[in-house]
């Protein structure tokens, strides 16, 4: 078990280091001088040079990289050019919107998908399965931002049940804040739930065809008990994989969805930062998301080991 986990951890760290190099390199080759951007077009060459020195932009590449990584590790992400505040403050503030949004969406998607997948697999080929999988097939095809627009039209414009966008802040109370996250979360979750339900169904069906299911039935267990006791745990493995991938997808999905709903989250921040070339903000948020994705993958790897004793190895 430890050998497996240590190997996964080593891979995660290596990926993280490589990813940080990539992010750093990409922003290095980006056109535009940050010092020039900050000072505006009227500044003289000397002024720009002075600021470049102050910002450490003239130091050798390796040093600048190490300095940047050191900053990241001590949660010092630098200052935003456009907002003139430390990036960490911006991130903290925006995270309070994006993280709950992504988590609600993930929970919603799982809660919907797993039972549907189970139901469909156990009623394979019958009407209920056909209807559920037809709906899933449709759900997979729906772009979440269009779905969001339709939800706004239906629930905000037409039925006036929830706000069409914007975020009152957690200070306004938990319920108003949650209410404004509800539609975005549903818009994010349903297409993902469709994917997950399909995966859960096919994983379960595959497992139900295994020899050991027949062994279990030959013991006299009824079909339902076999499904719960033997099939489900084995079918979890592909489901976990997709859950891990979906978290990454949901994080990125918030970028667009936050724009649809005018939510002041990380996605909207990174999008604005890109258009305004606020590079410190961009690289910080990208790194943050990369860390999140890698961490989630690590969690998935650990849960594989919990589900599947073959990975634990034992002597």
């Amino acid at each position: 078990m430890t050998a497996y986990l240590l190997k996964r951890l080593a891979i995660a760290i290596a990926t993280l280091i490589l990813a940080s190099m990539v992010v750093f390199a990409v922003l290095e080759i980006l056109p535009g001088d940050p010092a020039r951007l900050m000072l505006g077009l009227n500044a003289s060459a000397e002024q720009v040079e002075l600021l470049r020195n102050q910002m450490g932009l003239n130091a050798p590449l390796v040093l600048r990289y190490l300095h940047w990584v050191g900053g990241l590790l001590s949660l010092d992400f630098g200052r935003s050019y456009t907002y003139s505040v430390p990036v960490i403050d911006l991130v903290r503030e925006r995270m309070a919107v994006s993280l709950p949004l992504a988590l609600i969406a993930l929970a919603l998607s799982t809660i919907i998908a797993i039972p549907v997948g189970l139901y469909s697999a156990s009623r394979r080929g019958r009407a209920g399965d056909t209807i559920a999988m037809g709906a899933a097939q449709l759900g997979v095809a729906v772009p979440n931002f269009w779905f969001a627009l339709m939800l706004i039209y239906l629930f905000a414009v037409w039925l006036r049940l929830v706000p069409a966008g914007g975020f009152p802040g957690w200070g306004a109370g938990v319920w108003p804040a949650l209410k404004s996250l509800l539609l975005p979360a549903v818009a994010l979750a349903l297409p993902q739930a469709a994917i997950l339900a399909r995966v859960a169904r096919s994983a379960l069906i595959e497992v139900l065809n295994e020899d050991y299911i027949r062994t279990a039935r030959a013991k006299g267990l009824p079909y339902r008990a076999v499904l719960w006791r033997h099939a489900l745990r084995n079918a979890m493995i592909p489901v976990l994989t997709i859950l891990g991938l979906q978290f990454a997808f949901l994080l990125a999905g918030t970028i667009i969805i936050e724009n649809v709903f005018y939510l002041p989250g990380l996605g909207r921040l990174v999008f604005q930062a890109i258009t305004q070339r606020d590079l410190v903000v961009v690289e910080s948020i990208v790194m943050l998301l990369v860390v999140a994705v890698i961490a989630v993958n690590l969690v998935v790897d650990v849960s594989y080991a919990i589900v599947d004793p073959r990975l634990r190895g034992r002597q």
């Binding site: 990926t15 990813a19 980006l30 772009p143 269009w146 039209y153 667009i256 990174v270 990208v286």
Partner: protein, 289 residues
């Protein structure tokens, strides 16, 4: 994880016969043909000229003159959907081409070589997967500027590890087979074996993945265009049409409904096509029916 591949043993004729009996395949195929035909027809004919702005006709509700209504510049939505299909198909198709063209050789090579090469390639894959694809696509288009070409590159890059992974997993399932050993005993090199035996046997897998990535490409392109980083006006694109519709939901909901349906139907068609192909060619999934 290991992959099991059942290699179907059938002739072209029997496959064709099965295709005609497979509902998913037939519907998916029909939709795909329809969308492609729509894009092709748009080169020679559209109900209205999409480059002409007719401000007097702006935001007209659907009618017999304008089936899907008009937008805020008075352009015919149906015509714009037809022309927009070109962009969606072109971007997604070329992106799949990039992914397959680079990813499949990489994946099969890694599987054939094994060891360090394989490990390095898989770590590289992990690296690309660590970047949420849409975020990176936004970054790439932000760096190199918005536009259809950059959207293709951005989506294409993220197709590479997908195809590399599928090709590698498929190839790894083929390599231990006895017919590969027989080919090695006959003195064939790894490259020859990869081309003559491995690739033909994982073609189905790649074809199915191709339709999936095609569908995802259309969704991604729509997303990029929606945030203004895809095809640039005046070139109509489905995502851009939705962006324009967003602020006019109250006065002209049809501006959002129809382009969105175009996306949904196209993606649905491609997914059904992929499911159908998998059903027809993979005996394992057939057993599940």
């Amino acid at each position: 994880m290991t992959l099991h591949i059942d290699i179907p043993e059938e002739t072209f004729g029997s496959i064709l016969a099965k295709a005609f009996r497979n509902r998913s395949f037939l519907i998916g195929f029909a939709i795909t043909v329809l969308v492609v035909a729509m894009a092709l027809v748009s080169y020679v004919w559209t109900p209205y000229d999409v480059t002409k702005l007719v401000i007097s006709d702006k935001t007209l509700a659907p009618s017999s003159a304008h089936w899907f209504g008009t937008d805020h510049f008075g352009r015919d939505i149906l015509s714009m959907i037809m022309v927009g299909a070109r962009n969606s198909i072109a971007v997604a198709l070329v992106a799949v081409g990039i992914g397959m063209g680079v990813g499949v050789p990489l994946g099969t090579f890694a599987a054939a070589r094994g060891g360090f090469v394989d490990e390095a390639l898989m770590r590289l894959n992990d690296l690309v997967f660590a970047f949420p694809a849409l975020l990176s696509a936004i970054m790439i288009t932000a760096i190199f500027g918005p536009g259809a070409i950059n959207a293709i590159i951005a989506i294409g890059i993220f197709n590479i590890p997908v195809f590399a992974r599928v090709a590698r997993a498929g190839a790894l399932a083929i390599w231990p087979r006895e017919f590969i050993l027989a080919a090695r005993a006959a003195g064939k090199s790894k490259t020859q074996i990869s081309i003559q035996h491995v690739l033909p046997n994982i073609a189905t897998l790649l074809l199915v993945q191709g339709t999936i990535q095609f569908a995802l490409g259309i969704l991604a392109e729509a997303g990029l265009s929606y945030v203004g980083l895809g095809a640039q006006p005046p070139m109509p694109s489905w995502g851009r049409m939705l962006f324009d519709a967003q602020t006019r939901m109250v006065v002209a909901p049809w501006m959002a409904i129809f382009p969105g349906m175009a996306i949904v139907i196209t993606v649905l068609g491609l997914n059904l096509l992929g499911d159908g192909i998998a059903d027809i060619l993979d005996p394992k999934s057939r057993r599940q029916r």
